[in-house]
């Protein structure tokens, strides 16, 4: 018993030293007036170059779209690993039955969640949001359905196979959009650099291929996280 306490004290001292070190580093970094060449370029020229007024989406799907491809691959790998590791039986561990009040209110909420997610995806280059947030709301919808109506209700409509198919289609769509940059004469995933219809900044149809990439990534993120949750919720 005494040894465990000694371990805890030792860990506490180590962790406190680490916290002090992190705080010192952060304060010294914050004091410096560092030049932000890339950020200044994105802010000054981003709207004219990409046609998207949301600079974060412009970075994610135009300047650094290759980064986003890697990010989408991480979700794909995680969904594959989780679906592979966990057993494949059909029984559910979520056996609790909710009252009709909860079921009715969730049934009332779900269409609105769907509208919010589609709004976030299609206006991703104009307002806060984008493919990732919209996809996460889609996966939250599937989590709500599983919790409220049960695992079987969900898998009768969307099983892991169907969701994985949609995820693959999303990934392939994103790669195809990347090929459009090569066809137009630029590099892979090039968008505004090769002049693919930047449009009028602020309008719905602007930003080149950005809305399409948003939809592809949203399909991927939403179904990928749904597959992860479906796999975690089942049990042998």
């Amino acid at each position: 018993m005494k040894k465990i306490n000694f371990d805890k004290v030792f860990s506490f001292i180590l962790v406190s030293l680490l916290g002090l070190f992190i705080m010192k580093v952060l304060y010294s970094v914050a004091g410096e007036e560092a030049a932000r060449f890339t950020a200044d370029h994105y802010i000054s020229y981003g709207v004219d170059e990409t046609g998207a007024i949301n600079i974060i989406t412009a970075i994610l799907f135009d300047y650094r779209a290759f980064d986003t491809l890697g990010e989408a691959t991480v979700i794909f790998t995680a969904a594959s690993v989780v679906a592979l590791l966990l057993p494949r039986h059909e029984a559910s561990m979520l056996k609790t039955e909710f009252t009709p009040v909860v079921q009715q209110s969730i049934a009332f909420i779900l269409p609105f969640l769907w509208i919010i997610s589609i709004f976030l995806i299609s206006y991703g280059h104009l307002s806060p949001g984008g493919g990732f947030s919209g996809g996460v709301i889609i996966s939250a919808m599937s989590i709500l359905i599983i919790f409220t109506y049960g695992y079987r209700y969900m898998t009768r409509r969307f099983n892991v196979k169907k969701l994985s198919l949609i995820e693959d289609i999303g990934a392939l769509a994103f790669l195809t959009i990347g090929l459009a940059g090569i066809i137009a004469g630029g590099t892979f995933l090039a968008n505004s650099q090769v002049g693919i219809y930047p449009g009028t900044p602020g309008e719905l149809l602007s930003g080149g291929l950005m809305p399409l990439s948003n939809f592809a990534v949203a399909a991927k993120v939403g179904t990928g996280l749904s597959v992860i949750f479906l796999s975690l919720a089942r049990e042998d």
Partner: protein
């Protein structure tokens, strides 16, 4: 701004303390998640500039906060979710095999 940095340091320390001292694997995962959340908070804090507006440029502006760490934060959120899911899946596998969540017990039962 003054108070965010101690909060980040405390959160990272708390998470690592949980990883070091807890025996239950679910609690270790919670500790790792706390560290990951602190990193996202850090990315938000270092992108902040006094009087900066959000990087959505639909109206005239003076200063804009740094958009690059925010884009990286989005990446970090997605990777956090993926790694947490994989850790939980591994914990489910370990529990099915050893019937315990205690990491010291599992280390003793190896083989």
């Amino acid at each position: 701004m003054i108070l965010v940095f101690p909060a980040i340091a405390i959160l990272i320390s708390m998470g690592i303390y949980a990883v070091l001292t807890q025996k239950n694997m679910i609690r270790i995962i919670i500790g790792i998640s706390i560290v990951e959340s602190a990193i996202i908070l850090l990315l938000g804090a270092i992108s902040y500039i006094p009087d900066g507006v959000a990087p959505i440029l639909d109206q005239p502006y003076d200063t804009v906060v740094d958009p690059l760490p925010q884009a990286l934060g989005l990446t970090a959120v997605v990777i956090n979710a993926s790694t947490t899911a994989i850790m939980l899946a591994l914990v489910i596998k370990l529990y099915n095999r050893y019937q315990t969540l205690d990491i010291h017990e599992i280390r003793k039962l190896r083989g």
